[in-house]
């Protein structure tokens, strides 16, 4: 063995998962660190909104459209509710609904995508064709149609977006799982006589997990933006629930009077999706070399 070129990495001592994580985070570029800080801050606000918010979610505390003051940093809205408190509660509602939607969408699309990739055959053909058709209708347009039919409610919104979005998840999960399923090590497992669940869980999933995690981030920002757009258009999350999209729509007339108040919830949306994108961008770059790094 002396003649073989041994990699230096193999000599290095093994680190714990925690040490690895810390090391990884330290090596992150500024944009990714910024992104992670923003995401952490948002989740903090979302979790502890009732404790941090100075006023209640739909509590009327003064006159409509009151300008920002020491008591109300962001002013009051069209019926006299505190905008800052509504923004904080909005974090909880908007992020919560988007997260739930993406989780459902991944459970449907991810499971079906991996399953059809491994079994292939007619089921794969069928699902792929159906998904092709669904993907030729823009999500926002399709969602508008379905919401018009089913009626505006949060559960309809979550269900409709989850199903529409799962087609995208299906496409990605299927393609990445397929690229792993054709590898020799999967064939070796099949030749050994392994059953399908073992092959999926032990051979395929560990190899596509990083990509799926990155996709989760991207799908989250997409769903989050779609919900915001639908709420802004008046067919998403309905009042009096505080939500950033509808808050922009409710106060939009203020813009024409030169008051930037509607920009606050809009900026809150933008900041979160930008942050998620920064983190995903870095994560994707990192995972392309993850195999050697682990």
């Amino acid at each position: 063995m002396t003649t073989e070129h041994v990699d230096i990495r193999s000599i290095r001592s093994r680190r714990t998962l925690w040490q690895n994580t810390i090391r990884l985070l330290k090596s992150a570029p500024l944009s990714a660190k910024f992104g992670m800080a923003v995401i952490a801050f948002y989740f903090f606000c979302a979790l502890f909104a009732p404790l941090i918010a100075p006023f209640g979610e739909s509590e009327i505390v003064g006159k409509a459209y009151q300008a920002p003051s020491a008591a109300h940093w962001f002013g009051l809205d069209q019926i006299g509710r505190d905008t800052l408190s509504r923004v904080l509660f909005g974090a909880r509602n908007t992020i919560g609904i988007a997260l739930l939607t993406v989780c459902i969408s991944f459970s449907i699309g991810g499971v079906l995508g991996i399953y059809t990739a491994v079994t292939r055959g007619w089921l794969d053909q069928l699902f792929s064709r159906i998904v092709d058709i669904f993907m030729s209708i823009p999500v926002l347009i399709f969602a508008l149609m379905l919401l018009a039919m089913a009626g505006k409610s949060v559960w309809n919104l979550i269900f409709i977006l989850a199903v529409l979005d799962s087609t995208r998840v299906f496409r990605l999960a299927r393609n990445t799982a397929l690229s792993v399923a054709v590898q020799d090590f999967v064939e070796a497992a099949r030749l050994r006589g392994e059953k399908l669940p073992w092959i999926v869980v032990r051979e395929i999933v560990p190899n596509i997990l990083p990509l799926l995690i990155a996709e989760f981030g991207l799908r989250f920002s997409f769903v989050f933006l779609t919900i915001a757009a639908l709420s802004f258009l008046g067919v998403g999350i309905q009042p009096p629930t505080a939500d950033w999209g509808s808050m922009v729509a409710e106060s939009k007339t203020l813009i024409t009077f030169g008051r930037p108040q509607p920009l606050i919830p809009a900026a809150a949306i933008a900041l979160l999706t930008v942050a998620v994108n920064f983190v995903v961008d870095w994560f994707l770059q990192k995972t392309s070399g993850l195999r050697d790094d682990q």
């Binding site: 063995m1 041994v6 030749l191 050697d292």
Partner: protein, 542 residues
């Protein structure tokens, strides 16, 4: 090509001194070439030889004053025809490229632009540099095509790159390099992607044309036998350093460095064949196809004797890998039967029981894709131990360590990921995984062809040692005759889905040959500078 004193003229054409080249990756500059000298006279052909990572391509390109994107020359000088190429402007280099220096790349199909006809691309450098006008250039190109023995030299230029074969395209690229009558051509592994029988034709064509125009050349390859046919002088590179250099005959007869000798390590191995009548696996009249239309296996009959090694040899498209798929049940035959230990094997993988699966194991060409990068050696080797033998916990770990010792790796490898070990070690782990099942038959699909020579030799020796210890049978699929000679007892020659010949090694490798076997065997380059000359004489006489 070696006795060519009058062709090599005294003045130096290329002069490289103390050259260092670095490549950028992982936010750092890593050395690729660590201070190499090279000098080349007019009309001289020098061979650069080395294994993967030796820096031979980088050095060859540097002789043109070119570095790949992400690489830089950090020290040293490159002089071509008295001009300094390191500090030359892009414009000066551009004027030299394609007129005084030209390049022949490894993959002709990727290096020809798919959007233009072959002729257009062949004459481009000559017309572009004003060496000749379009009409003369086209006439000249047709003449070059003829000299390179391309079929239909007058019309082949009208075709598009994807319309001709790889071997033809490689010759067309040589015509392209020659079109402006350069002083120097850099050949970068031009025959590596070709089958041996095609390789002979391309080598002969390239050598003839370089001879006819007295062009100096740098010939880059990993195959010493190939370079021996082409070069006056050979330089051996390793890890970016020059190991040794000498004229071709001296290098082959009396290499001074151990490393140089190791470059033909596999050729020195030879297993003593032994006959056996006890057949473990019998393949009878098997047909198989992927689409149902074209037969990839056509009435194949092969018998594998127990405890021996049968090498299946053939070029790409011969059906040798498909044979493995038919045996393992991945591609059920459309006709014929396969019998294992006297019992017929169920054609489909799903119909075979666990014990049958255990008895036939497989090792793949590329350990990179055959080992799950997300599993440790413990998982990879331990799974078959648990799955087939039912061992768990400490007993399983003990068995894994035993297996690691059998493949000459220590127990400290047990928690490593495949990404943390070398290519040869990965292939050993693949072998351990197969051994863990305690199989009777192991199918080895090109298991050494992705490895460097010296590692190949070690793996082959290990396989032979394991056969002695466990009496396991090998079905060894390969395209490399040296490997066949090294490891087999019996040989099966395949061509276009059919078995041309099966017999003991001594029978197959000695006359009388069936025509295809003869063509295949005679096309394998030998460690003899006169091999190609002799072969071409013999073939033209026949």
């Amino acid at each position: 090509m070696t006795n060519d004193k009058k062709r090599i003229r005294g003045e130096a054409l290329v002069e490289i001194r103390g050259l260092k080249i670095e490549g950028y990756s992982d936010d750092k500059w890593h050395p690729i070439i660590k201070g190499v000298d090279l000098s080349l006279k007019r009309g001289e052909v020098v061979g650069l030889i080395g294994e993967s990572g030796a820096g031979k391509s980088t050095l060859g390109l540097a002789a043109m004053g070119y570095t790949k994107p992400g690489c830089r020359i950090s020290a040293g000088t490159v002089t071509f025809d008295g001009k300094d190429l390191v500090n030359a402007s892009q414009e000066d280099l551009r004027k030299m490229w394609g007129s005084q220096i030209s390049y022949v790349a490894q993959s002709a199909s990727a290096s020809f632009n798919p959007a233009h006809r072959i002729m257009e691309q062949v004459v481009e450098s000559a017309t572009n540099h004003g060496v000749m006008n379009r009409q003369t250039a086209e006439k000249d190109a047709k003449d070059l095509f003829k000299r390179l023995q391309l079929p239909n030299p007058d019309t082949i230029g009208e075709r598009y790159p994807h319309q001709v074969s790889g071997g033809q395209l490689q010759r067309a690229m040589t015509a392209m390099a020659m079109s402006s009558r350069p002083d120097l051509i850099v050949f970068d592994e031009p025959t590596t992607a070709l089958d041996v029988t095609t390789q002979v034709e391309v080598l002969a064509a390239m050598r003839r044309i370089v001879d006819e125009f007295d062009t100096a050349a740098i010939y880059i390859t990993h195959d010493l036998a190939v370079v021996a046919q082409m070069a006056h002088r050979i330089m051996v590179l390793r890890y970016g350093n020059l190991v040794e250099q000498a004229d071709t005959r001296t290098m082959l007869k009396a290499p001074t460095q151990d490393y140089t000798k190791s470059l033909w390590a596999v050729r020195k191995l030879e297993k003593k064949e032994s006959k056996s009548e006890d057949i473990i696996l019998s393949i009878a009249n098997v047909d198989a196809s992927y689409s149902g239309v074209v037969k990839v296996l056509d009435n194949v009959t092969v018998n594998i004797p127990r405890g021996r090694t049968v090498a299946v040899v053939g070029e790409s498209g011969s059906g040798k890998s498909t044979l493995a798929r038919a045996i393992t049940g991945l591609l059920p035959p459309s006709k014929g039967r396969i019998t294992f230990n006297g019992k017929e094997l169920p054609p489909k993988l799903a119909d075979r029981d666990r014990d049958t699966l255990r008895r036939i194991q497989m090792i793949y060409q590329s350990a990179d894709t055959a080992l799950n990068p997300r599993q440790t050696v413990r998982d990879i080797v331990g799974r078959p131990v648990e799955f087939y033998m039912g061992l768990k916990g400490a007993a399983k770990d003990r068995r894994i360590v035993e297996l690691l010792e059998a493949i000459e790796l220590g127990e400290d490898f047990i928690d490593r990921y495949p990404g943390e070990v070398s290519g040869g070690q990965k292939q050993r782990i693949s072998i351990a995984r197969a051994l863990a099942a305690e199989p009777e038959l192991i199918i080895c699909d090109e298991v050494t062809s992705a490895l460097d020579q010296i590692v190949q030799e070690e793996i082959l020796k290990l396989l032979m040692k394991l056969q002695k210890e466990t009496q396991v049978t090998y079905l060894f699929i390969t395209h490399d005759i040296a490997t066949v000679r090294a490891i087999s007892d019996e040989i099966v020659v395949m061509y276009k889905g059919k078995v041309v010949q099966q017999g003991l090694k001594s029978q197959v490798l000695n006359p009388p040959y069936p025509p295809y076997t003869e063509l295949l065997l005679s096309s394998v380059p030998q460690m003899d500078p006169d091999w190609l000359t002799t072969l071409l004489k013999k073939r033209s006489a026949a």
